[in-house]
């Protein structure tokens, strides 16, 4: 169950241009969070930046009772959030949403992340047990390549790409996935990032007969499944319906989702 919580900010750090990591002390979230879930954060006071901002959980420290979120400055809400100081209080609802499937039947897994979408995959890599884990992470340029120590220690193989070639492979992270699939195979691919990348990953997974989980984004209202704004098209028998990213997702099996909008 998720709760409305007022928790203390343990630390806040600028990782890259416009990218911040906030560590929050929360016994409840640290105990109940599962990789793939998110928290819905009230960034401003009162009616300032009115809606809460959904932010994925990036890392969970179950012993220290803290969790991390990594967010990108996008507008007034995230700007206010980025200016908060350690020791201050943050108002959030969580943990929310459907998490990644971490069941043991998937032993050889890959994660493919792009941009801000790499961060929810970190907690997955950290918590997925006793398997071979390969991470494919795409960034704009080398300035945005952050938390690499953590990604490295949480994965068995790590591939990096940048748009401008300033680090790793120059080009799309998809290229590295396709190349690796010529020699390797996976039981399950998890992906999070820009929609064009997700669509391409799903296409590649389908072609190779690999199961795939996608973590989707959509503009949200309540974050708890009531307002019905964060719609995403999913299959319903031979028909389709609008499911909701906040409650039915953000993680879906790729074969549930219809990517035609």
């Amino acid at each position: 169950m998720s709760k409305v919580l007022k928790e203390k900010i343990y630390s806040i750090e600028k990782l890259a241009p416009n990218i911040f990591k906030m560590t929050v002390e929360s016994e409840y979230i640290a105990k109940n969070a599962v990789p793939g879930k998110f928290v819905n954060v009230k960034c401003g006071e009162g009616i300032n930046a009115l809606l809460r901002r959904p932010i994925s959980i990036c890392s969970i420290d179950r012993e220290k009772h803290t969790f991390d979120i990594v967010f990108q400055l996008k507008g007034i809400g995230t700007e206010i959030l980025s200016q908060k100081q350690a020791g201050a209080e943050v108002d959030l609802i969580g943990p929310l949403g459907q998490p990644f499937d971490l069941s043991d039947e998937y032993k050889n897994i890959a994660v493919i992340g792009g941009g801000i979408g790499v961060f929810p995959l970190l907690s997955l890599l950290k918590e997925k047990k006793s398997v071979s884990k390969t991470a494919f992470l795409g960034f704009r340029n080398k300035e945005y390549i952050v938390l690499m120590d953590e990604f490295k220690s949480a994965s068995d193989r790590l591939f990096i790409s940048t748009d401008d070639g300033s680090a790793g492979h120059k080009g799309l992270i998809i290229d590295l996935l396709e190349k690796d699939l010529l020699e390797n195979n996976f039981d399950l691919i998890y992906t999070c990032g820009p929609l064009p990348m997700i669509k391409k990953v799903v296409e590649i997974a389908n072609k190779n007969g690999i199961k795939c989980q996608v973590s989707l984004e959509q503009r949200m209202g309540c974050g708890i499944g009531a307002c019905l704004v964060c719609a995403c098209k999913t299959k319903l028998g031979d028909e389709w319906e609008y499911s909701h990213v906040c409650k039915d997702g953000p993680v879906f099996w790729s074969d549930e989702v219809i990517f035609d909008e």
Binding site: K42, I47, L50, L51, G221, C222, G223, C227, A231, E241
Partner: protein, 306 residues
Amino acid sequence: MSNIDLSVEIAGVKFKNPVMAASGTFGFGREFADYMDLNGLGAISVKGLTLAPRPGNKPPRIAETPAGILNSVGLQNPGVEAFIKEELPFLRQFDTKIIANVAGSTIEDYCEMVEILSDADIDAIELNVSCPNVKAGCVSFGNTPGGIAEITKRVKPYCKKPLIVKLTPNVTDIKEIAIAAEDAGADALSLINTILGMAIDIHKKRPILANNVGGLSGPAVKPIAVRMVHEVSRVVKIPLIGMGGISNGDDAIEFMLAGASGVMVGTYNFIDPAACLEVVTGIESYLTKYNYSNAYDVIGKLELNG
């Protein structure tokens, strides 16, 4: 504070307090039960129902605007029969009144739904003739005195429950719409629905909402809503349920002073899932502060400046 009587009577229904969850912001209550005791609510107006299930509009369906939001959900709902079978039994576990909000694209749709719901275990029907987010019908019934009179008159014979007609603010003179609804047989009026608006992504040079336009709600609309409740309260005798940007008890008191017997909390449920109960507490505190013992000590007690 226990000796304060917060109960109000609207269209023959006694509500334990004036605070209700507004249609479209509260689903069918399930999601909120994790965060608050639904027994504390005066009523829940459920997500707008249509005769057949509706998938709703394409996303994005929401855009944040200064002190408000624009939405264009497009009445996604499971249909009136599924509501009665699958949602109503859950809601009925709680000691709160249930208002069924109905929307249609033809008058016949409305009549049929009202007839079906008249035999269901609900306390009142709210006629949504003012949803800005569906292309056919709906808002077009609500934006002329003739339109609202016709639909209210035609629905009324099928309606065995108290009939609340919900008014759109997207009109030149809301008073004449309100009078027309009253004359046609409305037992109460609720106002305001959302205000038609648009937000543009300047980088993409396109509207943010897939539907291009949507309904504005939230604190930004409150002064407009209060003014409209005030205006309508002066020209009709039936009770009013006021809404538009209520986020705390003081906001609710404004609406009550302006003439609303009930108040609905909408957008703020998204920010604070227990917002409705905060509003109840806030109303109680106000009454205590001024040594009032009854909600009616406030309702319609606005004194205008000379």
